[in-house]
């Protein structure tokens, strides 16, 4: 069989570091011909998410790392998929722009080196706190060139923000974990960074009251760009980025307002009045506010290097107003910890170690409110026995499989990453 042993290095893993889209086509075509699945990586920073893949052939895109074009006035940037995320963020930051969906840095949670590529950012599609206002990676991917599991380069979308020409395959690529096609070049929307940010902090609310406060804030006209809640138990251990915020051991509910300075300040005042029934809010401005939201975005209270580093972590998406009931119940049942983002619509749950990572309880509770749960961090032996991605209703699962096969009929791309048992 091909790729089993690299004669040059003696390594059992054969890593093919492609230089251009042609190389990608060639590797995928050979993989098809040899029925040899490929693991697709950028920097490999998220390889610990999903199921183990039964392959030792790695298609490495990290050398496709060029910035093809950046046009700040058009609000777009075109990049090769292997472009390092940190470099790209620095590039657009220099023009005072950003990816509005606040892509999460998974390194602290997973305990991996601080790396990651643009392709990985899109394939994972993990958006941060501003998801509720600005959308996710799927809303900012305007166009892509990719190589399908047929070994053919194709393009979808374009380099303009408004486009309905043909099916929007970008939506499928975002969040597909490399199972549909190998992206080689992508065009993303960038947005101006807000001039100012203000965060209102409420203290001492229980989960239910915090959920109500966040619902009131997000239903207000004050254009809240993020709403999160840290129950008091999450402050038992020190978390980087929170500083001495929780020295009183009370819970914190936080609401962010962004925009031009006068407006952010004005809306913060109006929102503080609106939320008066929930207590007197304190105000955090600009850099300390940004540090706080980075802490939420990257789920630092559950960091691999922290006190809960050995606990499995679930990422649960649900209707926002159902968040507190779901989170409180899960934490109570399992003795775990939860953090709420997206106004209650995203729950991070670190649960005490268990062979099944409490999957039956998590999945049943999430499904009961119309939500879904992904086991984003767990030891490899746990992931062997537990579905990492939320099992789907039979009809949706069958359609999803037909969609997948329409891109990759021989299942050569990341075989088994999304579904337990497929890769073995």
């Amino acid at each position: 069989m091909l790729f089993v042993l690299n004669l040059d290095t003696g390594s059992l893993v054969d890593t093919l570091k492609v230089r251009d889209a042609k190389d990608v086509e060639e590797v995928v075509r050979a993989a098809i011909a040899n029925e040899q699945p490929l693991e697709i990586i950028g920097h490999g920073s998220k390889r610990g998410i999903g199921h183990a893949m039964a392959t030792n052939a790695v298609l490495d895109l990290s050398a496709l790392n060029a910035v093809t074009s950046y046009e700040p006035n058009e609000l777009i940037v075109t990049l090769q998929a292997g472009a390092p995320l940190a470099d790209v963020l620095a590039l657009i930051d220099a023009k005072n722009q950003q990816f509005a969906f606040e892509p999460m840095d998974t390194a602290p949670l997973l305990g991996t080196p601080a790396l990651g590529t643009i392709g990985g950012m899109i394939a994972a599609g993990l958006a941060g706190p501003r998801r509720i206002r600005a959308g996710g990676a799927r809303d900012h991917l305007l166009g892509a060139h990719a190589v399908s599991g047929f070994g053919d380069s194709f393009k979808t979308g374009g380099k303009v923000v408004k486009n309905v020409t043909g099916y929007d395959l970008c939506k499928l690529l975002a969040g597909s974990w490399g199972t549909l096609s190998v992206m080689t070049e992508v065009t993303l929307k960038v947005m101006p960074k807000p001039e100012a940010e203000r965060t209102l902090l409420l203290r001492g609310l229980d989960d239910a009251a915090a959920n109500k406060a966040m619902t009131a804030a997000l239903g207000s006209p004050y254009d809240v760009s993020a709403a999160a809640h840290l129950p008091k138990s999450t402050f038992r251990t020190k978390t980087e980025g929170l500083g001495d915020l929780a020295s009183d051991g009370e819970s914190r509910t936080m609401l962010r307002l962004e925009g031009i300075t006068s407006s952010a300040a004005h809306r913060a005042g109006s929102l503080r009045d609106l939320l008066a029934p929930f207590g007197a809010a304190t105000l955090i401005e600009d850099a300390p506010s940004a540090a706080l939201w980075a802490t939420i975005r990257d789920v630092l209270p559950f960091a691999a290097g922290g006190a809960l580093g050995a606990w499995p972590v679930w990422r649960i998406v649900c209707p926002p107003a159902s968040g507190a009931a779901l989170g409180t119940q899960l934490a109570g049942e399992t003795g775990g910890e939860v953090i709420y983002d997206w106004g209650g619509g995203l729950i991070w749950a670190a649960l005490p170690p268990k062979a099944d990572a409490h999957a039956p309880a998590v999945r049943a509770r999430a499904a009961a409110v119309g939500g879904h749960a992904m086991l984003i961090r767990a030891a490899e032996d746990v992931r062997r026995d537990v579905d990492v991605f939320h099992p789907q209703a039979p009809g949706i699962a069958a359609l999803s499989e037909r969609v997948r096969a329409s891109f990759d009929p021989k299942t050569v791309l990341n075989r088994g990453r999304l579904r337990r048992g497929v890769g073995a």
Partner: protein, 497 residues
């Protein structure tokens, strides 16, 4: 008809009476329409240059009926064309001679308003504007606002991924839809997404949105709603050159300002609109910008001042700032009436819909002028300047021999130019039949085959809305065939680690 539709299935046409009876068994009473006179209302959509009576019209009012109709048609190999309000500007709902026209007009109920989760669950036949009206009492609205919002249905908005003047800031339909109930051609009913921010698994909602009725029939939609901005004000700015107006747009965006709306009109469009609605537009300018800022009053006032400064620096010749709602609405009245206004100065017009990078605007307008001379036809341009979406309105007279053909050729050349300048064939109206045959100007055969393979995953018989979007139809078996390439086994050139 200049565009070829799939050949009619004579075997199906021969069984018309039997098919109508079968549909009547599913949808009783007036829900099946088969008389030529009554079907006339359905023979065209917003692209009125094309007309075709369907074989039969069926108007179900439950998801189960939709499912039974599709299942029956799939079993009997009968084509189906879904239709919402019939406002498509690209012929997306053009019937087929041998096809069932499936109208969703009876799905008129809003099923749930959930303010806590900030969503509305609605049937697809509800109009875009009716959703905003249903939540207005609590200060909410549904953001995408296509200009046909009084008439167009939310199901059609999902099918077309409709935009509107405010989508630069608030996104298109795809950015504002969370879930749906959809019936596949097989009759299978699926629920996708819900009230959460994201769906599990592949983003099926994302690819269904904008699929122009080729993947399934939507029977319920969950949309997110937003709180209305506290206030809105507009500037109306005139420029002696189009280039200066383009520069002004670029500088506003460059300054980090995303207006609620930013529209441009060229001289012919300004004159037509002013003659129609008397909005007080300056007639001696080459380009007019209408820039709307929305949000809290303090923010709007400050941004208005910043935009005014930018406009002055770009050499604006006139700049008016609205001081009342009445005045703001007046600024918009001309722009919103631009299409009918052009209809007054020309017997007929074709409305095009390409998108270009914002910076390419001056050369795109220059090209349109050249093409107008070549085809000897006038053209007025309105432009969603903020997001590069251009709507050239080509003026012609259908009663003059050869003019419609010249107008269509002119339009096709404009869209080819959009692609040449780095843009796309359609920004918000959809491909439909109108731009179908131009798809190869933007996509290779490989690109289009991949899209059609996706279609096969939803509709393996190709019975749902065939003849739209794709210029060449392939059988799914043919598209799925794997061409094993040369069987190369080694990669001498690729670095290994």
């Amino acid at each position: 008809m200049a565009i070829m539709m799939p050949a009619s299935d004579q075997a199906v046409l021969a069984r018309r009476a039997e098919i109508i009876a079968a549909l009547r068994a599913i949808v009783p009473g007036e829900g099946v329409i088969d008389s030529a006179a009554e079907m006339r209302a359905y023979e065209s959509d917003g692209l009125t240059a094309y007309r075709q009576p369907p074989m039969v019209v069926v108007l179900p009012d439950t998801t189960e009926q939709v499912s039974l109709i599709l299942k029956y048609c799939a079993e009997q190999n009968i084509k189906v064309v879904p239709r919402g309000s019939g406002t498509s500007l690209s012929g997306g709902a053009l019937p087929l001679e041998d096809g069932v026209l499936l109208g969703l007009g009876k799905f008129k109920r809003i099923r749930e308003i959930d303010f806590d989760n900030r969503v509305v669950v609605t049937e697809p036949g509800v109009t875009n504007l009716a959703i905003s009206q249903a939540v207005a009492h609590a200060g909410f609205y549904y953001a995408p606002d296509p200009s046909s919002q009084i008439a167009c249905s939310i199901g059609g908005n999902v099918a077309e991924n409709s935009g509107g003047v405010h989508c630069l800031k608030y996104g298109m339909t795809t950015n504002n839809v969370l879930g749906c109930e959809i019936v596949l051609m097989s009759g299978e009913i699926l629920r996708i997404g819900g009230k959460g921010c994201e769906n599990a698994g592949y983003d099926l909602m994302g690819v269904i949105t904008g699929s122009e009725g080729l993947l399934g029939v939507i029977t319920e939609v969950t949309v997110r709603i937003l709180q209305k901005p506290e206030t809105a004000r507009a500037l109306m700015v005139g420029f002696a050159q189009v280039e200066a107006a383009g520069e002004c747009v670029a500088r506003i965006i460059g300054a980090g300002i995303i207006p609620g709306g930013m529209e441009m009109m060229d001289k012919p469009a300004i004159h037509a609109a002013e003659a129609f609605v008397h909005a007080g537009y300056p007639l001696d300018v080459e380009a007019l910008l209408i820039i709307e800022l929305d949000g809290p009053k303090i923010e709007v006032d400050e941004l208005i001042a910043r935009v005014e400064t930018i406009a002055n620096a770009c050499g604006s010749t006139t700049c008016q700032i609205s001081t009342s709602e009445a005045e703001r609405n007046l600024f918009w009245a001309g722009r919103k009436a631009a299409f009918p206004a052009v209809g007054r100065i020309s017997p007929d017009y074709l409305c095009m819909d390409g998108t270009i990078p914002r910076g390419a605007l001056p050369k795109a307008l220059a090209r349109i002028r050249e093409l107008g001379e070549k085809y000897q036809l006038g053209c007025a341009n309105v432009f969603h300047a903020g997001d590069g979406n251009l709507h050239p309105l080509i003026l012609y007279d259908a009663n003059k021999p050869g003019e419609i053909e010249r107008a269509e050729a002119f339009g096709a050349d404009i869209l080819r130019a959009c692609v040449e300048f780095g843009g796309v064939l359609t920004g918000e109206h959809g491909v439909g039949i109108e731009k179908r045959d131009l798809m190869p100007d933007m996509f290779t055969e490989i690109d289009l085959n991949q899209q059609q393979r996706l279609k096969c995953a939803f509709d393996s018989q190709g019975l749902l809305n065939p003849g739209k979007v794709f210029p060449t139809l392939h059988r799914c078996a043919e598209l799925g065939r794997m061409h094993v390439h040369a069987g190369k086994l080694a990669f001498p050139d690729i670095p290994r680690f």
